[in-house]
Amino acid sequence: MTQTPVQRPGEDGTTETAEIPAVGTHRADLGPDATTVLPPVPPGTPDDELDGDDADGLAEADEEFRPRRAGWLGRGIVWALLAWLVLAYPVNVFSPFDVGVADVDIASRAVIFAIGGLSLNVLLGYAGQISLGHQAFVGLGAFTSAFIVTNLQLSFWFAVVAAAVLGAVQAVLLGLVSLRLTGLYFALVTLAYGAFAEQTLFGISALTGGEGGKPAPRPVGFESGYSYYYLCLGFLVLVLWLDWRLTRSKAGRALAALRENPRVASSYGINVRSYILVAFAVSGIFAGIAGSLTAHHDEIIVGSSFDFRLALLFVLMTVVGGLRNRVGVVIGSAFFALLEEGAFVEIVESVVTALGFAPHFFQNVLGLPGEFVSLVLGPILLLLTLTLYPGGIGQQVAPVRGWLTGGRFDRHAGEVKEVEVTDVRA
């Protein structure tokens, strides 16, 4: 067979374009075999238009799906757009828009919220333990980091590690309570813990600066909003890695088992109590990192900014994002950050105004001041999630995600089929 030059064009120094006529001739010669060889037709040739995903989707429904070149091209473009949106757009690279420092700060906030959301996801999603005091987890990390940098004059890198460690310690202490109390009673304890931290811990002036706030300068090299954004992204990547490995290793499996059925988990030899504490520790580490980044993001922090509303926001973004769904939680957190910072309202209003409605749509037409939009929209989204999409945003983006990773676009991908677990009679 003379397929070799077809499969590897440009192998012997000739350019790819020089091979194209040869492809055409070979195809005619090869007959039925030609389809299996799949010659590398460069994009733009008429063949491409026939190679849509839908066409072969019907033909080979049962065979393993492989996207054609056009399919890969489409996926590549979407990937590139996503990469641009995350990596380049906020810092004005290859961008027709002008993103100011205030805007990139919102983007950094979105990344920090994503870390916070992943932190709560470990507890609520993996271990099935509710926390209504997550603002205290984050706040403790924030004040630890600010104190170390401002009062002890140590480096940010030391401070973020200390914040993570202290976050883990306080989470484990709370976790010890959860071993005694379950369900609603433990939720109340976390609620009380959050309120206690806000009113008491964060009010100790010597440590937190009291009402005046605590300064938390940004680390050397990351003073500008643009470079700080990349610092936050770097930490998000680290947290995503840890979270991914958690779910793919023995600790994650142990948590999945004990969340659903502690009896079965213990019969597998899993020490249920200590793995619940592992979940608290991991959540505390993530929250500590998020707190440290929050502190140096705001550059001055006050105790009152870590109030119950923040805890509620964490629960909202984790559940609306989709419990146990890493991508969903990240998107959900970013969305709620935009909502919280008013960026969402601004975007919607500018679109609505462009469509010919009165300016300040929420205020003037709906009678809802912009700063309350997140308070109203959050619970609505929560209800919609619980009733229509139990898998949250993670479920909604699952078809796109499957498509992006080289699968078919399946509308039903990601549908959550959690079963009610009847207690094993033991």
Partner: protein, 260 residues
Amino acid sequence: MSVLEVEDLSIHFGGIKALQGVNLRAGEWEIVGIIGPNGAGKTTLFNCITGFYSPTAGSVRYRDKDVTRLPVHERTALGMGRTFQNVGLVKNASVSENLATAQHLQVSYDPWAGIAGAPSTFAEERRVAERSELILHLLDLADVAGERVADLPYGVLKRVEIATVLATDPDVLLLDEPGSGMGPEEAHALGDTLLSLRKEFGLTIVMIDHHVPLVTRVSDYVYCLNFGEVLAEGGPDEVRRHPEVVRAYLGEEPEEVLAG
């Protein structure tokens, strides 16, 4: 030396005496059957042996070690593996995920190394997957490896459950009604499986079942429980013909019924 020895075990829930002075012994390589009517205390006995309940009085010894007060997961680590009456599996996970979870104690790395993603953990994860595959193959379950547990029929789940117990690397198997929901032929096949498992893994098996033909075929020794007490014990045929056992199951002796 006996593998498992239950001595004078009693457990009371308030005024209910669920078990009363039960003695049970399982020797190396033995298959011990436990029969008895509903509510006789069979599962409660298992719960005391495996650590889900702490007995009011008496002791559980495993290879001459007193384990009466040990928590469940430590008994699993010693080599006790058990199944549950209504399928003890993680229902929202796939069969192979359950097998991986059940290998918890065989996984060599520290949980924190796993979370950090240390390079050695990747190799160990591959070994875990291979072991799962091997066990599933052994029990003819290779074709359901990717299926979610909640989507599988009951009879298959009973076998999957045995596979997961094997994955915990047990020394003694405590099976709570492994044959429930199975027809006579399936139960017969299950008996063959149990006999071959004993041979291949050198297991001691204690099983509760209502399938009297299954129990009498595979067991070396049978206990019959009623109202929390051992009603009769001995060889399978001896127990089956024991007048007290017949009375417990049928209410009266068959002769009397016929005579009346």
